[in-house]
Amino acid sequence: MNTTPFISVRDLSIGYGSRVVQQNLNFDIGKNDIFFIIGGSGCGKTTLLKHMIGLIAPSKGQVLYEGVNYYQASEDTRLKLLQSWGITYQSGALFSSMTLAENVALPLQLYTDLSEKQIAETVSYKLSLVGLAGYETFYPSEISGGMHKRAGLARAIALDPQLLFFDEPSAGLDPISSLRLDQLIVQICKALGSTVIIVSHELPSILSIGTHCVILDAQAKTMLDSGDPKELLHHSQHEKVRQFLSRAGTAAAENQ
């Protein structure tokens, strides 16, 4: 296997301004992993994600993408990295002045030289993938919250990203849509060779599709453990981790 990990997080401290939320974060994410960032509410999961996707520069430590530090990279390298990422936000973050088709088409129009027809076909395919075929001409204000989320995903996968970030993908979705979303994540990961990073505390998802995870803790202000969630469930050295993962997660694990 490759010696440099796909993504490596080194000595990372995260927070807003002088307020430190988490410190001493060290973990690696391998290619094609489905990596979960887990932790209780308010422990800094989303903040960590924001540091990883280039929205907040870390006060200490670094995040390396195949050895490249986003915050110290040149403008060109940054843009290349951003194009190889797909990010879905908690509420979808769709542009409200554009239809769903226009939302999904935007990255294609900006970063590829596909013809209008090919863009339209690609958009139609991506929307079908997330179960929104036929909603091309709808505006975000005309669809439901769950649909927002799925349309956001369609926009994120428009350019076949190598790296997909999800912020609480299944929060607010019914169990069936949530399961479908999990399947979709696995399929995309397999078919496109993408790596997926998910912020979540949905135990069924974590235990069924997660290949790796890091667990953050609000009191300790650092990570408790990292590894395969199915192994951590029984063999983590931290009791807190075992408790967190076994609560309501047992059924899903037994089905494996």
Binding site: T112, K117, Y125, S128, L129, G134, I188
Partner: protein, 390 residues
């Protein structure tokens, strides 16, 4: 470089492949036939044929297509994009599409895309006639008027509750808005009032000089500012500054479901949100108006003294020109203008839709409505004052 990406063969004739290069014409198929569609090479975003090219290469009389991917090297979702279009086309033409020989991941990507049938919009998309559209426009405008009246009614109720002391209005909110609306607007009011005073003075002095009556510039500026421009200009500034801010604040609260939260707590948005904003404006407007009057007269004095009118002469002339009724006429206007700006701003905010676009629209609406209200009201006031002889 652009190598062959697909090839079509007739499978049931046996070993007589009729290979077609990309975009080539297909050899005539003789009977109804089953085709083999070989996908080959690299299918990558930006380097793939669109589905029409592929579909055009398929003979019209085929009744089944089998996909093979033995020669396929790298592929991404652009292959799935094209195949989805092909699958939809096949379904329309009732041609069987066999994807069993393709990679499992590709099949899954296709299955996911076809798992949920496309949404079919309702059938009532008939064209609306011009007359019907006109009627709709009028109805919408009429509703707008009704809504405004209802809004004014609600505010009046909230106000009477407040007077009786049982409204859920927080006094600290009123003071907060007074600070926002008043002291923070002083700089811009100073600038505008000073310039308006100077403009009036210049305008007057050019005319009055012809009659040798330059000293009456003071009368013109004083009456102009006190009765008209002081109130109107501060109101226009407030409409742009405060009215738009009110609409944006309340609109964002609507988007964040804060107003829903208030309602479900049993708190009237009128009393909690609209009333403090309205009261702050009503309190501040006359003060700003008086301030603008004074600054405007100073501006006039600046111009007049530069044109051989003595400063003390100017002051004396001003004292003679303005009486209490003039000042009151301006102040009454300004109070009324304050109410109108608050109504325009808050109504636009409360009726705001639930997305970021709607907030922008609300702010625009607030300013446009406020200025229309102001000008109409100002005209009405002038007619009224004239009839009453004030």
């Amino acid at each position: 470089m652009n190598a062959l990406l697909f090839r079509i063969e007739q499978s049931d004739i046996g070993n007589q492949p009729t290979a077609d290069p990309i975009e080539g014409t297909s050899s005539a198929a003789t009977a109804t036939s089953k085709l083999q569609l070989h996908l080959c090479g690299d299918w990558q975003l930006g380097h793939t044929p669109d589905s029409e090219t592929l579909i055009a290469a398929i003979p019209a009389d085929c009744n089944g297509i089998a996909l093979t991917t033995n020669e396929l090297r790298h592929w991404d979702s652009s292959l799935a994009v094209t195949l989805l279009q092909l699958a939809r086309w096949c379904e329309q033409k009732q041609i069987a599409l066999d994807t069993s020989a393709t990679p499992e991941t590709l099949q899954q990507l296709l299955n996911l895309a076809t798992a949920i049938p496309p949404y079919q919009p309702g059938t009532n998309t008939n064209k609306i006639s011009l007359l019907a559209r006109l009627q709709k426009t009028i109805t919408v405008q009429g509703e707008g008027l009704t809504n405004t009246l209802i809004f004014i009614g609600d505010i009046s109720l909230a106000f009477t509750h407040w007077l009786r002391g049982n409204a859920k209005t927080r006094t600290q909110d009123i003071f907060f808005f007074i600070e926002q609306v008043g002291p923070r607007a002083l700089a811009i009011v100073t600038l505008i009032a000073l310039l308006v005073g100077m403009i009036l003075a210049y305008l007057g002095s050019v005319q009055l000089r012809q009659l040798g009556a330059q000293v009456y510039v003071a009368d013109l500026v004083a009456i102009g500012m006190v009765r008209e421009m002081g109130a109107l200009m501060t109101a226009v500034i407030m409409a742009g500054r405060t009215g738009a801010a009110y609409a944006a604040q309340l609109g964002t609260m609507q988007v964040n479901e804060e107003i829903d939260a208030l309602k479900t707590m049993g708190i009237s948005a009128m009393e909690f949100l609209v009333l403090p904003r309205l009261l702050a404006l009503v309190f501040i407007m006359p003060l700003l108006c008086i301030y603008a009057d004074v600054v405007g007269m100073l501006g006039g004095a600046l111009v007049a003294t530069s044109m051989d009118v003595n400063f003390s002469q100017y002051i004396l002339q001003t004292q003679g020109a303005v009486d209490l009724m003039d000042i009151l006429a301006g102040l009454i206007k300004s109070v009324f203008f304050g109410v109108l700006i608050a109504i325009a701003g808050c109504q636009a905010g409360i009726e705001c839709g639930r997305n970021s676009d709607a907030v922008g629209m609300a702010a625009t609406n607030a300013v446009v409505r406020a200025i229309v209200y102001l000008v109409v009201a100002d005209a009405a006031f002038n007619i009224l004052y004239d009839k009453l002889g004030i």
